[in-house]
């Protein structure tokens, strides 16, 4: 049985992830999991996240699911979504919070002149809003089973103010542009993780979930 555990540590968008997985893979056994043993038993794991990094890391710790996520990351297909992607990295600049450190790298805020506060607007230039909210193109950096059937430069739905910058560029499988070029999808061995929200990205998002359900790394 293909059981998919959605890690529910008390933060985030696990209901909408569950609904999208259900629509993408009607025959899969999708479980919203609050217990480590349920995550250990599942054949694959989705790790969502939403909201402030400090709250996400703290509630993951308090829920007792941190070790189960780390165990899953060692040998099962694991899909990180949004803050669930960011949490896989070493540390977040959002409150200098240490993260799971599965991937080396820092989670950074969108910053720079193009993101400067626009209290004194210039007539010529348009300053970029934060959060980065809306549909943006994802440029696939290399083929991957989770990109199957999804054309390069497909739009996905984003909403975030921070993004993960991998220390090792070879982790990057997708990039987007918002004032700067940033990594929005990473992959290594049995792990795939995205900054955008496949569960809110219409049919390409459902295809990505379908690909994850079928993935045998």
């Amino acid at each position: 049985m293909n059981t998919i555990a959605i890690v529910d540590y008390g933060m985030g968008n696990f209901h909408s992830v569950a609904r999208a997985l259900q629509a993408a893979a009607p025959n899969a056994d999708i479980q919203i999991c609050r217990k480590a043993q349920d995550i250990d038993r599942a054949s694959r794991v989705v790790f969502p996240g939403q909201g402030a990094m400090r709250d996400c890391m703290r509630t993951l710790e308090v829920s007792g699911l941190r070790e189960a996520v780390l165990r899953a990351a060692r040998n099962k297909p694991l899909l990180g979504v949004c803050v669930g992607e960011q949490m896989l990295f070493t540390v977040s600049e959002e409150g200098d919070v240490p993260c799971l450190d599965i991937f080396p790298g820092v989670v950074k805020r969108f910053a720079g002149p193009q993101f400067a506060s626009n209290d004194t607007p210039s007539q010529e230039r348009e300053l970029l809003k934060v959060p980065h909210m809306g549909w943006n193109q994802v440029e696939q950096q290399r083929p991957h089973p989770l990109w199957a059937g999804i054309p390069d430069k497909t739009h996905f739905y984003f909403v975030h103010s921070y993004y993960a910058a991998p220390a090792d560029e070879s982790l990057t499988v997708g990039v987007s542009h918002y004032g700067l070029r940033f990594t929005c999808a990473v992959a290594a061995a049995n792990i795939f993780a995205v900054q955008f929200h496949p569960e809110k990205s219409a049919s390409p998002g459902l295809r990505l979930y379908r690909n994850f359900v079928d993935w045998n790394p």
């Binding site: 968008n13 209901h15 909408s16 609904r19 999208a20 259900q22 629509a23 939403q50 909201g51 402030a52 720079g112 002149p113 193009q114 993101f115 506060s117 626009n118 209290d119 607007p121 230039r125 348009e126 300053l127 970029l128 809003k129 934060v130 959060p131 980065h132 909210m133 809306g134 549909w135 943006n136 193109q137 739009h155 739905y157 984003f158 909403v159 975030h160 103010s161 987007s176 542009h177 918002y178 004032g179 700067l180 070029r181 569960e199 809110k200 990205s201 219409a202 049919s203 998002g205 459902l206």
Partner: protein, 269 residues
């Protein structure tokens, strides 16, 4: 080109088109200024149709008058969220943190707060701290209060535009951004229902005043109005109801029209 210009060219974020569905008693309705409501159909069917046309998000506005019937919208949102996988915003009658939780549980991705933000601004701060800014939209209804020839000035109104608050719209927008709103839904009460186009001066003033995205609303009568909201009003997103409900235009036509004017939009096959 300056570094900033280069960076802006390197920005592929699309402008969003958001059909708005007014909902009461389980049906989508459309009227002018909350009167003469006409049945426009089943919420799930309409949501699916807009999704197929390439709508970037959907906004549901619960225009139910009595608080007893408020929870009627929850099963609607649940049904839509099971079948339509784009962001859903729900507003109307949100009074307290518990209302927000219920709507999010039902499947809303964002909740829009209007009058309650005015009567209790700390609600916005609490909600953003607890649920994250990404799901808190502050809806602001503004009306021009400056006379012809004076420097433009807009005031915040509540209760569907009937109740003046004395609050300056630009100050309010800045305050709500500081309080943690992730986005502002800006409606011109002067233009709402007129089909005369957005109040572009208002849209631009608010969009330039805050670091968060602004959705322009109120007055769309044709596709050029949508494009103007983005190019002249600098809105991140444009919201419209009647031009889509009555089949005057599809969302896809709106996007093709905007794309032809050089606006980045998400075109679906």
């Amino acid at each position: 080109m300056t570094a900033v210009d280069t960076a802006l060219n390197d920005n592929a974020l699309t402008r969003r088109i958001i059909p708005c569905l007014d909902v009461t008693a389980g049906r989508v309705v459309k009227g002018v200024n909350f009167v003469d409501l006409v049945d426009a159909g089943d919420p799930v069917e309409i949501a699916q149709r807009y999704n197929e046309q390439g709508a970037d998000e959907l906004t549901f506005l619960d225009i139910t008058a009595t608080s007893d019937e408020r929870d009627v919208i929850l099963p609607i949102i649940e049904s839509v969220a099971k079948q339509v996988f784009i962001p859903l915003t729900v507003g109307g009658g949100v009074r307290q943190v518990g209302d927000i939780q219920r709507l999010l549980n039902a499947g809303a991705d964002k909740v829009s707060i209007n009058s309650a933000a005015v009567s209790n601004p700390s609600l916005v701060r609490e909600a953003a701290d607890y649920h994250g800014s990404q799901c808190i939209v502050v809806a602001m209804d503004a009306r021009r209060v400056s006379a012809e020839g004076e420097a433009p000035k807009w005031e915040i109104f509540t209760h569907g535009g009937r109740k003046a608050t004395g609050i300056d719209a630009l100050e309010w927008a800045r305050k709500m951004a500081r309080y943690g709103a992730g986005e502002l839904l800006l409606t011109s009460m002067d233009r709402d229902g007129t089909k005369a186009g957005f109040d572009l001066e208002l849209t631009r003033a608010v969009a330039d005043a805050v670091p968060i995205p602004v959705i322009a609303s109120g007055g769309v009568g044709n596709l050029q109005h949508l494009a103007d909201g983005v190019t002249l009003g600098r809105a991140s997103a444009v919201l419209a109801a009647s031009i889509f409900h009555y089949g005057e235009y599809t969302v896809q036509q709106a996007k093709e029209f905007m794309a032809a004017q050089g606006i980045k939009v998400r075109l679906t096959a």
